[in-house]
Structures are given as structure tokens and as C-alpha cells.
């Protein structure tokens, strides 16, 4: 028994964190919004790809790092913290391990990003910008060129998500079949769930850090507002939520990597906890900032809106709770 990150996971996380701190300012996140300088976002991904992170789950004999979900989660937490726009979960966790040939090489180089929708919905995050799109077709997972799909841009809460709606499903047999194995489909789905949970935890940590910094400086009634118990207690509750969600995501990653029979159960628990924590942290962060947190000039909203977009992605809390209820034998009434 050892519940702590391995050296490889730490090394990958720290390398990514260092690069993201240097390359991803709020200005870069804003560049991902409509009308922004999108090339700033592209440049950050190219540098990140230079670390090899796109191939985290890709075997070494296919030029990847050959790591597993235990390394994926801390990496994605840092990506979440950074706020860097782009289909991080979809490209790194879901698509890359299933790709081959030219597509794989382009993804590993950071030149091509992959959007994905493996659930029941028709909304495709980054469906307006990613070159490739992965969908769950009746016969398995299929990969399409974005330009071949009927995708209609949507206005969304997080403008940097480049969301699109699939207005009609692709013809059967279109695109490339990546896998028809139900187990591979389930693995891809769980990796998306895990990666999104990790992104949410990273966003929560970022929002908490911003808020703690703010309430230490902001003075009202002649004192920093962070010295008031009303603020302290709200932030303490937010920290509790995040710090108990994080090990659930790590545990779920371990179960997935180990091929445990409880992997699905743990992934659902992780997603619920990370989503609930992010919602609480976002609400608390905005409240503790007062009116400045309700402006778009201040950066907090960039992270909060990403969280609100990710919370219903890869299975809402309701979806995962229903799945847990079935696992636990309490679905009937």
C-alpha cells in the first residue's frame, strides 16, 4: 500500500507545471475566446507537446511516454489549474492512445488536437477548432475530420471551449474505426471522466489560490477581509471539498490503471466529488471577491466558466450518481 504519486508522475507533473506557469497567463486563456489571438494558445500547446505530454498514455513503441492513468491525473490537474484552452482530456487521455500513423504523429507534436463526444449528447467541445473529432458510432469509436461533420458553432458560457453542436450524425461507415471493442470504448470513456475530474480539481485549486490572495489584500472595515470568520469558514469549507475530491480521483486512476473491477465505480465517484467541489469553490470564490469577481475584467471568471462547462461534461453528477446507484444496488424504489 502506498497512496502517493510515483517519481515518474511527479516528474511529468512538475515539468508541465513549470512550462504552464511560464506559458499560460490569463492573456493566453483570453486568446482562446472568440476574436482572440488563437495562435497564442496554439504556441503554448506546441511547447507543451515538446515535453512529450501528448503521448502520456501512448506506448513507448509508438513514440509515447508509455505511462498510465496514475501519471495522467496529476498532469491534467496542472492543465486544469493553468486554464489553457483546448481539448486536453479528449486529446491526451481519450484519443491519443487509440491513434496510429500520421494522426498520432501530428497529435504527439501538438499540431493536431482531437475533440470528442462519447456520451449521449450532441454537443462537441472544441468542435469548432480541433482538426479531428472522435465520436461513439453504433459500431464503436470512430475518428472524423472536423470538416466532414455537420457541426454548428454554439454560444456557450466558456467562450474558450469552441463548442459545436452535431446537427446530424455522420453516415454509418464514415470516418475511421478506431475500435469496436466494448472494453476499449469503456476505457476511453473512463479516461475522459478521470481526466475531466482532474481538470476540475486543478481549476478548483486555481480559484482557491486566487481568492486566498485577494482576501488577504482587500481591506474593508479597516482590516483584510480574509481576517473575518465569515470569509475564513467559507474558504475552509471549499478547501475541504477539494482536498477530499483529489484523492478520490487518484484512487480512481489507480483502479483504472490496475484493471480493477471497481474502476467504473471509482471513476463515477471521482467525477461527482470533483464536480461538486468545483461548483462550491467557484461559488465561494466569486462571493469572497465581491463585485470584482462579478466582472470579466478580473480573471476569476475564466476559471469559473471552464469549471461550469466541465461539470456537466463526461457525465453530469446526475448521470454518475445513477450509475453509482446501479453499482451499489440501490437503483430501484
Amino acid at each position: 500500500m502506498r497512496f502517493a504519486l510515483d517519481e515518474t508522475a511527479i516528474a511529468l507533473r512538475d515539468a508541465a507545471a513549470g512550462l504552464l506557469a511560464a506559458e499560460t497567463s490569463p492573456a493566453v486563456i483570453r486568446a482562446g475566446w472568440p476574436g482572440g489571438a488563437q495562435e497564442l494558445v496554439t504556441a503554448a500547446w506546441l511547447k507543451l507537446a515538446g515535453l512529450g505530454v501528448m503521448g502520456t498514455l501512448v506506448p513507448e513503441d509508438r513514440a509515447g511516454l508509455g505511462l498510465d492513468e496514475n501519471s495522467l491525473v496529476p498532469l491534467l490537474e496542472e492543465l486544469g489549474r493553468s486554464g489553457l484552452p483546448g481539448p486536453a482530456a479528449e486529446t491526451i487521455a481519450v484519443a491519443a492512445p487509440l491513434l496510429e500513423g500520421g494522426h498520432l504523429a501530428a497529435v504527439l507534436a501538438g499540431e493536431t488536437m482531437v475533440a470528442a463526444q462519447l456520451g449521449d449528447g450532441d454537443l462537441v467541445p472544441y468542435g469548432t477548432s480541433a482538426a479531428l473529432v472522435m465520436l461513439r458510432a453504433p459500431d464503436g469509436l470512430r475518428l472524423y475530420e472536423r470538416v466532414d461533420l455537420a457541426l454548428e458553432p454554439c454560444v456557450t458560457i466558456d467562450g474558450s471551449r469552441g463548442l459545436a453542436r452535431l446537427t446530424s450524425p455522420p453516415a454509418g461507415g464514415a470516418g475511421t474505426l478506431l475500435s469496436s471493442d466494448p472494453a476499449a470504448v469503456e476505457t476511453a470513456w473512463r479516461r475522459g471522466v478521470l481526466a475531466t475530474s482532474a481538470l476540475l480539481n486543478g481549476l478548483s485549486l486555481q480559484m482557491l489560490e486566487l481568492t486566498v490572495g485577494y482576501v488577504k489584500q482587500r481591506e474593508q472595515f479597516g482590516a483584510p477581509i480574509g481576517s473575518f470568520q465569515a470569509i475564513k469558514h467559507a474558504l475552509a469549507n471549499a478547501l475541504v471539498a477539494v482536498e477530499f475530491a483529489r484523492p478520490l480521483v487518484l484512487a480512481a486512476a489507480w483502479h483504472q490503471a490496475a484493471g480493477s473491477a471497481e474502476a467504473g465505480l471509482n471513476a463515477s465517484a471521482a467525477k461527482v466529488a470533483a464536480s461538486d467541489a468545483a461548483r462550491l469553490v467557484a461559488r465561494t470564490a466569486i462571493q469572497c471577491h465581491g463585485a470584482i469577481g462579478y466582472t470579466t475584467e478580473y480573471d476569476l471568471h475564466l476559471y469559473a466558466k471552464r469549471a461550469w462547462a466541465l461539470i456537466p461534461s463526461w457525465g453530469s453528477q446526475g448521470w454518475h450518481r445513477a450509475r453509482l446507484a446501479a453499482f451499489l444496488g440501490v437503483s430501484g424504489d
Partner: protein, 375 residues
């Protein structure tokens, strides 16, 4: 990351499970009542005779030299088998870690074996009428008796759990009246049968005499009953409260078992409107379990649990209340009846209060983990 148990640990689990399944008493009366307490003492002695009372202690004091992991496994199996709350817990989980850290060899040899055997029963003498959350406001005093080589203890302790049933008290007394709040306190080990000590039991929400007031009037204890240094009581006590808020008092096994019982209750009385709350209780218990695994890994690798233990206390105490509220909702009109869930609910309400109220814990988290300014 490796969430598997070693062969040795699996063997330990199998041995614990086998013994507990054969020996855990059924239908024990509540240990919170005078009548029930005696039956619980029998159970404690049964545990001790089979060397399961204090598994993590050294063998010479009645333990098994079990690792922290094995302790965790034992706790899981204990609650899984339906073991009752430990009436000896304030001694074995709160005082003992302090004795191991600050006690002299003589104190350890004198107190630990008798504590393990439930021959000495210890209660905690922290709170006073004017010192609850604000523990540093303690006023009970210890005055030097040079002639007899000891101290005269005076004052009043209150809300002392199981004080009416215990034989000894560990507590804080002011040895230097001139020193500031946290200074000038000393940690004393006090037999309750000495002249000058009066104990009056009174009822808690969940039992008959489970609380007590302890009155001390010039009660003499020798120097040998000081734990740690004179005027060092605050530091010594904080090591105990760290245990109380953190790992030792509330192992995940208890909440995993409660969550399982809640699932069973739901299956027997399903209610779609409450399903998500039942699922959430299970998620919370899992979260507490894996957080504990993370924390124990940290401790075994030499990182000391600091103010983070307040996060634990906040999480398990709030989850316990929510879990029991959900059970009462499932029970509907039957939740008014006396029963394990109703009693568990009343007990759960103590969690956010004892070991430092959750309001104080939130201050600790905000100031010492998040770094927010003190007022």
C-alpha cells in the same frame, strides 16, 4: 501508487476477521449508560486477552507492534464485524500517543499496560465552564507543594465524557498564573479516587451519565504525575488534540460500515427521492478512506500531520451527521422511535462539537493551511 495489501497484511486481516466474527458481542446495551458500560468493559477485557485491544502498541504493553496499515485494517474489520464504539478510546487513542511521545519510561510502564487491559479508565480533563472552544482560557490551577513534592489541583472540569465511569483523568492545569494564556499550563495525570476530587455525572443527549463534572479542591498529586515539562502543557496537549482531530479517533472503517448499513436500509425501504443522498454518503465514506490512505502514506514516509488534521475532523464529522440525517429520512415516521439510527444520529451531533468545534477547526484551516490573517 499501489492500493494493494501485502500477503502479511492480508493474513493479518484474515486473522482479525476470524476472531472478530467469532467474538464480537451481539446486542450490547449502549456504553453511554451506567448499566451498559459494565458490559462494554467485559468486551474490552476480551479484546485485551486476545491482544486485539491496542494492536499498534508494542507487545510488552499488550499490543502487536502492528503497523499503521495493520491498525487501519483492524479498524475496518472491527466495524465491519459490528464491533461497538470503544469505551476505552480516550485513553488508548488520545492519552496513549501523548504518553508514548512525552512520558517517562516509568510513566509508560505504569500506565500503558493497565490502560490496555481496561483496568485504568481514562477521561479527558480539558473543558471547563469558561473554557470550551477557547481551551487556553483554562483556569483550574496547580499550586506547588514543596514539602510533599507535588501539586495541589483545584478547579472544575466539565463535559468530561464517561467521567462518571472512569478511574483517571488527564488534564490541563495552570501552574504559572502570571504567564499568558497558552503559557503556564501543565499536563497532569490524575487518579479520580484521591482526596479532594468529586465527580458528578450528568446526562448527554445520547445516554444517562455519560458526561461528568469533576471538582478538584486541593487534590494532591506527586511530581511523577506531570506529563511533559512544567508549563509545557499546551504543547503536550496539542499533540493529543492532533490525534483527536486527525486519524486516531475516527478511522475510516466506522464510516465505511455506516455507509454500508445505509445502503442496506435503503434496500429495505427504498425511496427514489433519497437515493442520491444515500449514494453521496457512500462517496463521502470512500473519500474519507482514500484521504486516510494518503495521510498514512505521508506519516509512514516521515511527513508529520499538522493543521491538516483539522480538514479530517471537519470532513468526517459533517459526513457522519449527513449520513444519519439521511437514514432518519429513510426511516420516515419510524425515525422517532429509539433505535440504532436514532442513537447514532444523536451521537453524530457531538462530532462537530468535541475535539474543538468545527467553527474553531475552520479557523485553524483558514489561518494555518490557507494562510489567512488572524484577527
Amino acid at each position: 501508487m499501489d492500493l494493494t495489501w501485502s500477503e502479511r497484511e492480508e493474513a493479518f486481516r484474515a486473522e482479525a476477521r476470524g476472531w472478530l466474527e467469532a467474538n464480537v458481542p451481539r446486542d450490547l446495551a449502549s456504553g453511554n449508560t451506567r448499566a451498559g458500560f459494565a458490559a462494554h468493559l467485559d468486551w474490552e477485557r476480551t479484546l485485551h486477552d486476545a491482544r486485539w485491544a491496542v494492536v499498534s502498541w508494542p507487545e510488552r504493553y499488550g499490543g502487536r507492534d502492528a503497523t499503521l496499515w495493520e491498525w487501519l485494517i483492524f479498524e475496518e474489520e472491527y466495524y465491519r464485524a459490528g464491533g461497538p464504539p470503544r469505551v476505552t478510546q480516550n485513553g488508548i487513542f488520545l492519552l496513549a500517543p501523548t504518553l508514548f511521545e512525552f512520558g517517562t519510561p516509568r510513566q509508560q510502564d505504569l500506565y500503558l499496560p493497565r490502560m490496555a487491559a481496561a483496568e485504568d479508565l481514562w477521561c479527558q480533563g480539558w473543558s471547563e465552564p469558561g473554557a470550551g472552544s477557547d481551551l487556553a482560557a483554562v483556569r483550574s490551577s496547580a499550586v506547588r507543594d514543596t514539602e510533599r513534592g507535588g501539586w495541589l489541583l483545584s478547579g472544575q472540569k466539565t463535559w468530561t465524557t464517561r467521567g462518571a465511569f472512569c478511574t483517571h483523568l488527564f488534564g490541563l492545569f495552570r501552574t504559572d498564573q502570571a504567564a499568558g494564556r497558552h503559557h503556564g499550563l501543565t499536563y497532569f495525570l490524575v487518579p479520580l479516587n484521591i482526596p479532594g476530587v468529586t465527580v458528578r455525572g450528568f446526562a448527554r443527549l445520547d445516554g444517562d451519565e455519560e458526561f461528568a463534572e469533576v471538582f478538584l479542591e486541593h487534590a494532591f498529586v506527586p511530581d511523577a504525575n506531570v506529563l511533559g515539562g512544567i508549563n509545557q502543557g499546551w504543547q503536550v496537549a496539542m499533540s493529543t488534540t492532533g490525534s483527536e482531530r486527525g486519524l486516531t479517533l475516527r478511522s475510516p472503517g466506522r464510516f465505511l460500515r455506516s455507509a454500508d448499513r445505509l445502503l442496506e436500509l435503503y434496500r429495505s425501504r427504498p425511496s427514489a427521492a433519497l437515493r442520491d443522498r444515500v449514494v453521496q454518503a457512500w462517496i463521502d465514506a470512500q473519500a474519507y478512506q482514500v484521504h486516510t490512505l494518503q495521510q498514512i502514506t505521508g506519516i509512514t514516509e516521515g511527513r508529520r500531520a499538522g493543521p491538516e488534521s483539522s480538514l479530517n475532523k471537519l470532513f468526517w464529522s459533517e459526513l457522519d451527521v449527513r449520513l444519519h440525517e439521511t437514514a432518519l429520512a429513510l426511516l420516515g415516521s419510524d425515525s422517532e422511535l429509539d433505535g440504532p439510527w436514532t442513537r447514532g444520529f444523536l451521537f453524530s451531533l457531538a462530532g462537530p462539537i468535541y475535539a474543538g468545534t468545527n467553527e474553531v477547526q475552520r479557523n485553524v484551516v483558514a489561518e494555518r493551511v490557507l494562510g489567512l490573517p488572524r484577527r
